[in-house]
Subunit: 697 residues, 2 copies
C-alpha cells in the first residue's frame, strides 16, 4: 500500500501526549542499546522484499501454508546466520564472540536460549504469524541433545544439528492418548542385547506420537520419549534419537508412519505431526545417556535424578509468560490504535462522532489490558531472575547435590501458577480486545486470530491449565502446613503466616494486595479443611478427597496467582521509582494501580467472600471511582504508551493496528489482493449458479 | 471411516444412565412428530453422497472454500425444494399446503421464517459448518422485499426471488466506517426528477458497504440502505433495490465495485463482500416504497413510522439466542463424549486412569454448560412466544395504531439484553468446553473453531454487545423511574418495585433468584445516582453523564439479564412439572438448579456487594456444597443427556464428539486424508530444505 502518512487522529493524539514514547520504548526494551539492536535487526529483515507475502497466509490452503512457511523458514535461518556473522565481524573481539560463533564446541544452552529469543521474538513473529516448522529444531531438539546426551553423543550430533547439516529434528513426547500424565505414555523401546539395538514400537493407535512441531513433513530426526524395556523389565521413560526420514531422499524410513495432524485454531505454520513405529531399530548409542545408561549386555545404570531436566520445564513456562504477554500487548496496541481512528455514536447530540476510545465503556475494555501486559512483564522479569539464580545454584552444587535446588520447589510452583494464570488472563484479554474492535476485529487481516490462536495453544501446551493449578495447590498446601508449624516460608507465600484480618488504611494498593492475599490464604484453608473432612471416618481415600477438593484447590491456586501478580507489581513499582524519569514513573504508577484494582474487581466475589468485614460499601465505591479516574487519566497517553512498546507494523501484522492509523485503506487493500477477487466472475457461477437460475428452484 | 460400533466407555455409560435419552429427545424436539420429521430430513440429506466433502474445508484455500460452499449451496437448495415438494405430495390437502407451495403469491414472512429455520437448522449447520453464501438471500433479502416493498414491487420481485429466477440477493447496510450508529451511514441516493432515477454513490472509502453475506461473488441484486437526497434536501435512510451484476454474464455492472472482504475467524463460507457505487442509476420504482414514497416529480411522502421494521430486528435477535444456544450445546455434546472416552491421571494410585469426566474439575467445566444451554432454550422459547404475541397485536391494530405495540418496548429491551448476555455466555461456555478437551480441542477437526467462530460473530452482529446493553439500561432506567412513581411495571422488571432486602429462606433457588434481582436493581440505582451526580452543578451535560456512567449501566443491564434468565428457568421448571415424566422432571430440576447456582457463583462479586447482610458465610458454604453435589448427581446421566439433544454426527462435525466415541480413530482418519499427507515428500524439501542441508547454515 502506498504510504499516506499518519492520519490526523493519530497525529493529534501524539501531539497531545504528556509522555515521550521514545523514553518509554528505551525503558521497555531494557536500554537504548537493546532498542537500537532490535530495530536494526528488524530493518535488516523487513527491508528485504524476499520476506513479503504475495498472498495473505489466511487465504492459502493448508498445504500451501506449509510450503510457504517452510520456504520462508529456510530463508529466515540463512539470513539470520548471515546477520550473526556480520555482527561478529563488526564487534571488537571479546567475550561474546565465542557464543556467536556457533562452532560445534561452542553450541551451548545459553546460545540456544538466545536463539530461541530470535526465532520467537519480534522478527520471528512478524515473518510467521502462525509460527513455522523449523522452530522446534532449535527450541526443543537441540536443547534436549545438549541436556540429555552424553559427551560422545553431543560431539557426534550437536554441531551437525546446529548447522542443519543433514539433520532437522523435533521432540516427540505427547501421544494421541496421553498428554499431561506422561507416565501413561505407551510408545516402547525394547533392548535387543544381541544386536545392541533398541526396537521401537507403537503398540496401539493411542500410542501414536501426536503434536510435535515440524514432525509432519519437515523433521528427519526425532528425540522420542518411550518406555524402556530390557528383557521384559520396565526401566521408565527414556529418550531416543531416531532417524525417521532418509537423509538424501527425505522418504520416511521403513517402519515409520509419519504425517501432519491437520489444521488447528492457530499455529498453522507449525507442521505438527503424528508418528508411529513398527519395529524400528536404532543402535544402542542413540539412547540419550547423560542420566541413564544401557550397557551393551543390557545392564541398566541410573545416574542421580536429573534436577536440570526439571529446569528445562520451568524455563519453558517462564518463556510462555513472556510470550503471552507479548501477544496481549500486540492485541492491545492494535485495539488502541483502532479505537482512536474509529468514530462512532455521538456523545453530544449535534457534535461529530467521537473516537470510540472516548467512550468510557471502551476505555474500560482496553486500558486495563495494557496495564495487565505491563504487570505480567514485571512478573516475568522476576521469574526469569529467580530462574537464573536457581540454575546457577544448581550448577555450582553439582549434579549429585540437591542442596543447590533449595529455591527450586518455589520456582517450580511459581512458574506453574503464573503460566496458568497469565495464559488465561492474556487469552481473555486478547478476546476482550478483539471484541472491542467490533466486526473488523473479526477479520483475519486484523490478525487477532493468529494472536489469539497462539495464546490459546499456550493455555494447554507445556502443562495443561488445571493440572498446573493443582500442582501449585499441592505446593501451597505444604506451605500451609509449614505455616501452621510456624516454619519460615519462601518469599512468595510468606503471607500465609499472616493471620490478621484486613484493616483498610489510606494506602489503597496495600489494602487491595492484602485483601487478595487474605482471600488466597482463606480459600486454601477452606480447601484443605474440605479435603480433611472428606477423609474423616474413612469416607474417602486421600486421593478421592483430593479429587473432591479439586474445584476449591484450583480456586486457591488461582487466587494465589492474582495475589502474587498484584503484590509483585507494587514491589517492582517501588524499585522503578529510583530508576526512571518522573513522567514515566507517574505513568507506570497509574498502570500498576489500574492493574491492581482491575485484578481486585475481577476477583470481587472471592475478595468479598473472604473479607466480609474488612471492606465497607463506601470503600468499595471509592475504589470504583478511583478505577474510573485512572481510565480518564490514562486516556490521553494511550497512544504514546502503545507506541512505546515499539512494535513494528510487521510484528503487529494487522490492518487495524498500523502506526499510521490508515485502517480503512489497509482493510480495503488487503481485501482487494485476495485471490478470490482476481477474477470478475468466479467459475462456480457458470457451473452452478447460472444452471440454477435456468431451471429455477 | 469404517463403522466400528460404539466404544466400550460409551456403551457402559449408556447402560448406566437412569434416564432414557429418547424421552428427553422427544421433549427437546417439541414432540415425537417434530423429532421424526427432523430425523427424516437429516437422513434425506446425509445419506446422499453428493454432500460428503472429499477434503475437510479447513484444508482448503479461501477461494476453494467459497467455490465449495457455493456449489454445495446450490445443490442444497435444489434438494430442499424437492423435499418440500415430496412432502406436499404425501400430505393430505389442508391448511399447510398453500404455505409449502411457495408460489409467487404465497411467499410470506411466515414461510421465510420457516425456511430460515431449515437453512440455519441442523441440516444447514451440518452441510455448512461455516455457513454458505446463499443464506442471506432467504434470511434478509426476501424478508426485506416483503416487509418494505409495496404491493407492486412485491408482485414484480418476490416470486422471481423465491424461485432464484435470475435473482440472488443480499442486504447491504453496514459500511466500512459505520456499524451500530446507522444514522452515520454515508452511501447516498440522489433523486434525478428529470429521468425519474436515483443516482447511487459511495462518497468516501469509509462509505463502502462491508460485510453483507453473499455480496462478494454471489449476489446479483442488493437491497441497499442509503441516505436519500431530493434536490439536495436530506430525507433520511431509505432502502433501494439495485442490480449489481449482469443477469446473464454475472459481470459487475458499470459503476459497481464489488468483491469479497476476505478470511475471518469463522463463517468463512459466507462470502461477505464490499460494494461501492459510482453514479449507479436505478429507476424510481426501485426504492422500496411501503413506508415512504418519492413521487415522480420529487415530492417525498412519509407514511406512519413502521413498527414492523422494529419487529424484524427483534426477530433476528430472538433467533440469535437460539443459534448460540444450539452452538453451545453442540460444543457441550462434543466435550462430554470426549471426556468419557479420554482417560487421564489416576485418581487412586494403582487404579487405571479414569475417564476424565470423573475428575470433579472436569465436571465443573462441562456440566454447567449443558445446564446453561437448556436454560437459554427456556428463555428463547418464552421470548419467541412474546414476539409472536406482540406481532399479532401489532397486525391486529393496523399500521397506524401504535397501541398494538404495548409490549413492544419490553420485548425490544429483553431481546437486546438476552442477545447480549446469551451470546457472551455461550461464547464463553464454548471456550471453556474447547479448553476442557485439551490439545485435541484445538484441532479444526474437533470443530470447536467453526462453532466458536459463529458464536463470536453473533457477539457483534445485529447489535454490538455494549450498544445493546446500553439500550437495555435505558429501558431499565425508565422502569426505575416508573417504579419510584409506583407505576405498574412490565412483567420482566416487576422486581424493581420490590425494595425488601434478601431474607434467606429454605428455598435455595428462590434465595438465589432474589439475590440476583436485588443486585440488578441496586446496580441500576447506583448507576442512576452516579449519572445524576455527574450532572449536578452543571458539571456535565446529560450525554456526558451517560457516558461517564457507561460501565455502571452495562453492569446493571448484564445483571438484569442474569436475574431474568435465572428467574425464568425457575418459572419454566414449574410449568414442566405438570408436563413431563417424573424421571425427566428430576433431571431438569437438577439442571435448572445447577444453572441458577452457576449464575450466582459467577456473579458472586455483584451479589455480595449488593446483599452484604443477606447471605452468611455458612449459607455460602452450603450453596457451594450443593453445587458440587449437583455435579455428582448429574455425572451418571451426562451422556444420556447430551444424546438426548439428538445431534446427528454430521451436525456436530467433530472427530471428538461422535455418537460411537471413536475419537482416536477419527482424529487419525481425518489427519490422513489431509492433502498435505498425500505425498511422501513435499516439493519444498527439494527446493529449499535439501539445498540448505547442502550449503549448511
Amino acid at each position: 500500500m502506498e504510504a499516506l502518512g499518519e492520519c490526523i487522529e493519530l497525529r493529534r493524539e501524539r501531539e497531545g501526549a504528556t509522555i515521550a514514547s521514545e523514553d518509554f520504548a528505551v525503558w521497555w526494551a531494557g536500554g537504548r542499546h537493546e532498542l537500537e539492536e532490535r530495530r536494526a535487526l528488524e530493518n535488516y529483515f523487513f527491508n528485504d522484499p524476499e520476506f513479503d507475502d504475495a498472498v495473505h497466509p489466511s487465504c492459502m490452503s493448508y498445504k500451501q501454508r506449509y510450503e510457504h512457511a517452510l520456504t520462508k523458514g529456510t530463508k529466515f535461518l540463512a539470513k539470520l546466520r548471515e546477520w550473526q556473522r556480520s555482527r561478529r565481524a563488526q564487534q571488537p573481539k571479546g567475550k561474546e564472540e565465542h557464543e556467536l560463533e556457533g562452532a560445534e564446541d561452542s553450541v551451548n544452552i545459553k546460545l540456544l536460549y538466545d536463539y530461541r529469543m530470535l526465532l520467537s521474538g519480534p522478527v520471528g513473529t512478524a515473518l510467521f504469524q502462525q509460527s513455522f516448522p523449523l522452530r522446534l529444531h532449535f527450541s526443543m531438539f537441540l536443547p534436549t541433545l545438549l541436556s540429555q546426551g552424553n559427551a560422545e553423543q553431543q560431539r557426534r550430533w550437536v554441531g551437525r544439528a546446529w548447522r542443519l547439516d543433514g539433520i532437522v529434528g523435533t521432540y516427540a513426547q505427547t501421544e494421541l492418548g496421553h498428554g499431561s500424565y506422561i507416565r501413561g505414555l505407551e510408545t516402547r523401546a525394547d533392548y535387543d542385547a544381541e544386536r545392541e539395538q533398541f526396537v521401537l514400537n507403537t503398540p496401539t493407535l493411542s500410542a501414536y506420537k501426536w503434536w510435535p512441531g515440524g514432525l509432519g513433513q519437515t523433521a528427519n530426526m526425532v528425540v522420542v520419549l518411550a518406555q524402556l524395556y530390557i528383557r521384559g523389565k520396565h526401566h521408565g521413560l527414556q529418550q531416543f534419537l531416531v532417524r525417521i526420514r532418509d537423509e538424501q531422499t527425505h522418504e520416511p524410513l521403513p517402519g515409520i508412519d509419519v504425517g501432519d495432524i491437520g489444521p488447528k485454531l492457530g499455529a498453522n505454520g507449525v507442521n505438527n505431526g503424528f508418528l508411529g513405529f513398527r519395529n524400528v531399530r536404532i543402535p544402542r548409542d542413540q539412547m540419550l545417556m547423560k542420566n541413564a545408561q544401557v550397557l551393551a549386555d543390557g545392564r541398566f545404570v541410573q545416574a542421580a535424578q536429573p534436577l536440570l531436566v526439571y529446569g528445562t520445564m520451568v524455563f519453558v513456562r517462564v518463556m510462555i509468560v513472556r510470550d503471552v504477554m507479548f501477544g496481549l500487548l500486540q492485541a492491545a496496541t492494535i485495539a488502541t490504535r483502532y479505537s482512536l481512528v474509529r468514530r462512532q455514536s455521538p456523545i453530544e447530540p449535534n457534535a461529530p462522532e467521537p473516537q470510540i476510545l472516548d467512550h468510557v465503556t471502551q476505555q474500560a475494555k482496553i486500558l486495563p489490558q495494557i496495564a495487565r501486559g505491563i504487570c505480567y512483564r514485571l512478573a516475568a522479569d522476576v521469574l526469569w531472575a529467580i530462574y537464573q539464580r536457581v540454575m546457577q545454584q544448581l550448577e555450582a552444587a553439582g549434579p549429585n547435590n540437591s542442596n543447590g535446588g533449595r529455591e527450586l520447589p518455589e520456582l517450580h510452583a511459581l512458574s506453574c501458577c503464573l503460566k496458568a494464570v497469565c495464559t488465561e488472563g492474556a487469552a481473555e484479554g486478547i478476546d476482550v480486545l478483539r471484541k472491542a474492535c467490533g466486526g473488523h476485529g473479526y477479520m483475519s487481516s486484523a490478525n487477532f486470530d493468529s494472536i489469539q490462536g497462539l495464546a490459546s495453544a499456550a493455555f494447554t501446551y507445556e502443562g495443561e491449565h488445571t493440572v498446573l493449578l493443582l500442582q501449585t495447590a499441592r505446593f501451597l498446601l505444604r506451605q500451609h502446613l509449614d505455616a501452621l508449624k510456624r516454619k519460615v516460608l519462601p518469599a512468595s507465600v510468606t503471607y500465609l503466616r499472616n493471620a490478621s484480618p484486613l484493616s483498610w488504611s489510606d494506602n489503597l494498593l496495600e489494602n487491595v494486595a492484602r485483601a487478595l492475599e487474605i482471600s488466597a490464604a482463606a480459600q486454601l484453608r477452606e480447601a484443605w479443611q474440605w479435603q480433611q473432612e472428606q477423609r474423616q471416618h474413612g469416607k474417602h481415600t486421600e486421593q478421592q478427597a483430593n479429587n473432591l477438593s479439586g474445584r476449591r484447590l484450583t480456586a486457591a491456586a488461582t487466587l494465589h496467582g492474582h495475589a502474587y501478580l498484584a503484590r509483585n507489581a507494587i514491589k517492582q513499582l517501588e524499585q522503578l521509582r529510583r530508576n526512571v524519569q518522573p513522567a514515566l514513573y507517574e505513568l507506570l504508577q497509574q498502570l500498576v494501580e489500574l492493574f491492581v484494582l482491575h485484578t481486585f474487581l475481577r476477583q470481587l466475589g472471592a475478595v468479598l467472600k473472604w473479607n466480609r468485614n474488612g471492606i465497607s460499601s463506601k470503600q468499595l465505591q471509592q475504589l470504583e471511582q478511583r478505577y474510573e479516574q485512572l481510565l480518564g487519566a490514562l486516556r490521553p497517553n494511550a497512544l504514546a504508551l502503545v507506541d512505546g512498546f515499539d512494535f513494528h507494523d510487521r510484528v503487529l501484522g494487522s490492518t487495524l493496528g498500523c502506526w499510521d492509523g490508515r485502517v480503512y485503506e489497509r482493510l480495503m487493500a488487503e481485501a482487494r489482493r485476495n485471490p478470490l477477487n482476481q477474477e470478475a466472475v468466479n467459475s462456480s457461477y457458470h457451473t452452478h449458479l447460472q444452471p440454477l437460475f435456468r431451471c429455477k428452484l
